[in-house]
């Protein structure tokens, strides 16, 4: 459809509905409140369910209920609310329930601030709940990508029977950009395993308890096998001007866009810089990053957190290349100028010849 200017937090709800989402449960929190408001407005109009939950604990458990009943369902929140939901994440993954959770990250810890941050990386990407489980995590950098990835999230959730998190820093939810929405997708029929209150589904059971060690181990191995499959099939990233890059900048979400501008600036000044922007944070584009170690001499990770993303980049590189890091937190977004200085520093550290360092 014709591009229209729209705010991220509004677009995410429309995208979910176009993807066949027909249930939303949520609790207000800045900077995600427009999502719950839009859901309250639109879900009843499309014949769906909207419940304003009494807490994020209730909201995530409603999500468990909706998903158990075979409905495409979603919730959204930000830091403090996402923390409260961690119990539910674990149960959803354990019971293999497909659903979508949007986290519009704000500053933390504690109440922190309502400004954009990326401090939820560990709790979402590594798993903030108990047990051996993973969330699939998608990180949009623009409003269009927020729409596209939200729609993809529902597909992946069904394919892997696992919660999928759309992890965005709050600026992606708050900004307006033009979006082309796709045509609506038909609402899928309830999957065969769902519990819908019919004769056909009477023997179905949604469950996460397995007291017998061998049974639970088998279950965990089955989950693990799914995650290995996702690691093979689902990593997504944007690579830009990396082919001849001496230095590769790594960052996701809004940072990825700042880094694009940094690459432009660097190239204008004769520095061969490139960008690798992870789009899936789990599964992480490990192989794509490792492959770049063959050509790039140094890496610089930029994040709106204090050293979370960088751990995965270092793991991917296994010490083969130096990794610089730079972060802004508390609601600040790194500027092109700041990051460009980092690029220069990194190059000096890695003793990479470039027009700047040789001439200067």
């Amino acid at each position: 459809m014709e591009p229209q200017l729209i705010k991220g937090n509004e677009a995410v709800v429309k995208a979910a509905l176009l993807a066949g989402c027909r249930a939303y449960y949520g609790y207000p929190i800045t900077p995600a409140s427009e999502i719950v408001e839009m859901a309250a407005l639109y879900l009843p109009e499309v014949g769906g369910v909207f419940v304003q939950a009494e807490s994020e604990v209730a909201a995530i458990n409603m999500l468990y209920g909706g998903a158990s009943a075979g409905v495409r369902a979603m919730t959204a929140s930000s830091g403090p609310g996402i923390s409260l939901m961690q119990e539910g994440f674990s149960y959803l993954a354990g019971a293999e329930l497909p659903c979508v959770i949007v986290d519009m990250m704000r500053g933390g810890p504690g109440l922190g601030s309502i400004g954009p941050e990326q401090g939820d990386y560990f709790q979402i990407v590594k798993g903030g709940g108990h047990g051996c489980y993973r969330n699939l995590v998608l990180a949009p950098a623009s409003v269009q990508e927020l729409v596209d990835l939200t729609m993809l999230a529902f597909e992946l959730a069904d394919r892997y029977r696992n919660p999928v998190v759309v992890l965005a820093d709050a600026s992606v939810g708050q900004m307006m950009e033009p979006v082309s929405f796709p045509e609506p997708r038909p609402v899928p029929a309830a999957p065969a395993w769902a519990v819908t209150g019919t004769a056909a589904t009477r023997h179905n059971l949604v469950n996460s308890i397995h007291l017998e060690p061998d049974v639970l181990e088998g279950h965990i191995r089955a989950l693990e096998a799914k995650y290995r499959e996702a690691e093979r099939s689902e990593p997504r990233w944007e690579a830009w001007r990396v082919d001849d890059a001496d230095i590769v900048l790594v960052g996701y979400g809004i940072v990825g866009r700042v880094l694009r501008a940094v690459v432009e600036t660097a190239r204008r000044r004769g520095i061969r810089a490139g960008l690798l922007r992870p789009i899936t944070l789990y599964p992480f584009p490990t192989r794509a990053i490792r492959a770049l170690a063959d050509t790039a001499r140094a890496f610089a990770v930029v994040e709106m957190s204090t050293g979370q993303l960088v751990e995965d980049v270092r793991l991917a590189l296994e010490g083969s290349r130096p990794v610089e890091t730079y972060g802004r937190v508390g609601g600040n977004i790194p500027t092109v100028e700041e990051v460009f200085q980092l690029v220069e520093r990194t190059l000096v550290g890695a003793r990479v010849p470039s027009e700047v360092s040789t001439n200067g």
């Binding site: 459809m1 014709e2 229209q4 200017l5 509905l17 176009l18 249930a23 900077p31 009843p44 109009e45 499309v46 014949g47 769906g48 369910v49 419940v51 009494e54 807490s55 209730a58 458990n61 409603m62 999500l63 468990y64 209920g65 158990s68 009943a69 409905v71 119990e87 539910g88 149960y91 309502i114 400004g115 600026s171 708050q174 900004m175 307006m176 950009e177 033009p178 929405f181 609506p184 609402v187 519990v195 209150g197 019919t198 009477r202 023997h203 179905n204 059971l205 949604v206 469950n207 996460s208 308890i209 049974v215 866009r257 700042v258 694009r260 501008a261 977004i333 500027t335 092109v336 100028e337």
Partner: protein, 500 residues
């Protein structure tokens, strides 16, 4: 005793709702895992009986809690969902809302319902969810081995009240039926017990009523069952029954606390579902139309290939800062450019300062963050001072005043004072000061073609009366630029008139 026969039949018989073998159990597949004399076993059988009597086996969905009844799904041949500790009512809410024809039963213990899940049960009851809750109150944490429950009786010893429950330290037994009876929404609240065969029969009737209410689409029903836990209480089954009958009921009086089964109006949760093809219209994804009913004016897209406008709009909350930015972005889009709009947001919108970053560019926008603006619209002096130093040399500043503060002038930046608030005031409303600035910006830079604003006006101005005023303000802003270029104002230390 002849009157005991039906109770005995339930306790010793086997309802067809019970699985013939408990295949989901690992070990003994003909016995439940409950201790001899445990109330859970009886309640489960009574529930099966009620489901059978009402003929709702296929429709029933049992939500099993965390507690000794965690394995409820091993016994009842109905749809089964096992959930986290205390969250049954939230799960049941969502299941029922999306599957209105199902009969949803949340089965919960006293730790589950009255401690960790207090919020969920109160709010499900208060929303009047059309579900049936079975609350098995055995005044103890059975599964974890006998810790204090919120319903533990005073002076009762548990593993976490080794000297007995002392109200001064542990509070009083929580009375769930009484608590929920303070709410308007519940339809049926009743406390029953398993202290005698007669009480067991009454429990069966109450459970049936709670399910029947749901079959009829009436609201929230809850049955609290005082229930023996011989194992933890350290009593034999007969003694435990006596304890329920003679001791528990003194703290928890039996009886009905709410019964609107006869007067409550049935509710249907089912909704009409629009055709898929209707969705774009419902979601407002079609072409925009505004106050005058006209649809989009399509401006021929002929963007200037070098265009890269990095704009910061800043001022006080209430000056229309964000809206001005939105107009610009919308107009840029109409003119065929890539655009982005990034606001400052949150409490500062309600008071204090507000700003937004707008980019209008011929090429896809890398970062929507404008750290080095080439256009600044400063609607007050603090904003001017805050952003001036970040400006790119050669950039343009439009400043809401009739003079530029003397210490601000003289940078590598053109500062044009446009007294937009004052001009807007003269037009009839200070609120259109942002539109005066917008007109001035478009006139001063020519960054967007004529007509580019039409679509923005259609979409963003929904009231006819404002539409005219906005157009007048835009015009006044354009004219003001020409006055300024004709007679540039001397820099002065004068304060922004808008700041009073």
């Amino acid at each position: 005793m002849a009157s005991d026969a039906p109770a005995m039949a339930v306790i010793h018989g086997r309802s067809p709702i019970f699985y013939r073998r408990f295949d989901r159990k690992d070990d003994d597949q003909h016995q439940t895992h409950y201790c001899p004399g445990c109330g859970h076993g009886i309640v489960t059988k009574l529930l099966a009986e009620a489901i059978d009597t009402l003929g709702i086996q296929d429709r029933t969905i049992l939500v099993s809690p965390v507690g000794c009844s965690v394995f409820g799904y091993e016994y009842l041949d109905v749809g089964n969902i096992q959930v986290a500790h205390g969250r049954g009512p939230a799960v049941a809410t969502a299941v029922k809302r999306s599957r209105p024809d199902s009969i949803v039963v949340s089965y919960q213990g006293d730790g589950d319902l009255a401690a960790i899940g207090t919020a969920e049960i109160v709010h499900a009851a208060n929303r009047g969810e059309i579900v049936s809750v079975i609350f098995v109150n055995n005044a103890i944490y059975g599964m974890t081995g006998g810790q204090m429950a919120p319903t533990t009786l005073l002076r009762e010893k548990t593993t976490t009240t080794p000297l007995g429950r002392d109200p001064a330290v542990h509070g009083y037994p929580l009375k769930v039926c009484e608590l929920l009876a303070t709410l308007d929404a519940p339809v049926f609240l009743e406390r029953v017990a398993l202290g005698s065969n007669k009480q067991i029969m009454a429990t069966g009737r109450a459970l049936r009523r709670a399910l029947e209410n749901q079959v009829h689409g009436l609201g929230f029903s809850l049955v609290e069952v005082l229930s023996p836990c011989p194992t933890i209480w350290g009593l034999d089954p007969a003694e435990a029954q006596t304890f329920v009958r003679e001791t528990m009921t003194r703290t928890f009086p039996l009886g009905n606390f709410r019964d609107r089964s006869a007067s409550a109006v049935p509710r249907r949760l089912a909704v009409t579902v629009p055709d898929l093809g209707e969705l774009p219209r419902i979601l407002g994804l079609g072409p925009a139309s505004g106050a005058d009913g006209a649809s989009d004016t399509v401006v021929p897209a002929s963007p200037v290939p070098t265009a890269d406008h990095r704009i910061v709009v800043a001022g006080f909350g209430g000056q229309g800062v964000l809206l001005l930015g939105e107009f610009l972005a919308e107009a840029g889009l109409s003119a065929g450019y890539h655009v982005s709009w990034l606001p400052s947001y949150g409490p500062q919108m309600r008071s204090g300062t507000s700003n937004c970053h707008v980019r209008i560019s011929a090429v896809p926008i890398d970062s929507p963050v404008v750290s080095r603006p080439n256009v600044l619209i400063a609607l007050n002096e603090p904003s001017l001072r805050k952003f001036l130093l970040s400006m790119e040399p050669g950039g343009l500043v439009l400043y809401n005043a009739d003079r530029v503060p003397v210490d601000c002038a003289g940078n590598d930046v053109r500062i044009t004072p446009i007294a937009s608030t004052a001009i807007a005031d003269r037009l009839g409303s200070a609120k259109v000061g942002n539109m005066v600035m917008l007109g001035a910006l478009l006139e001063a830079t020519g960054m967007l073609p004529d007509g580019a604003l039409d679509r923005a006006l259609h979409r963003l101005v929904t009231q006819e009366s404002w539409y005219e005023l906005d157009r007048a303000a835009l015009q006044a802003g354009r004219a003001a630029v020409h006055r300024m270029t004709a007679a540039p104002a001397e820099p002065s230390l004068a304060r922004d008139p808008a700041m009073g």
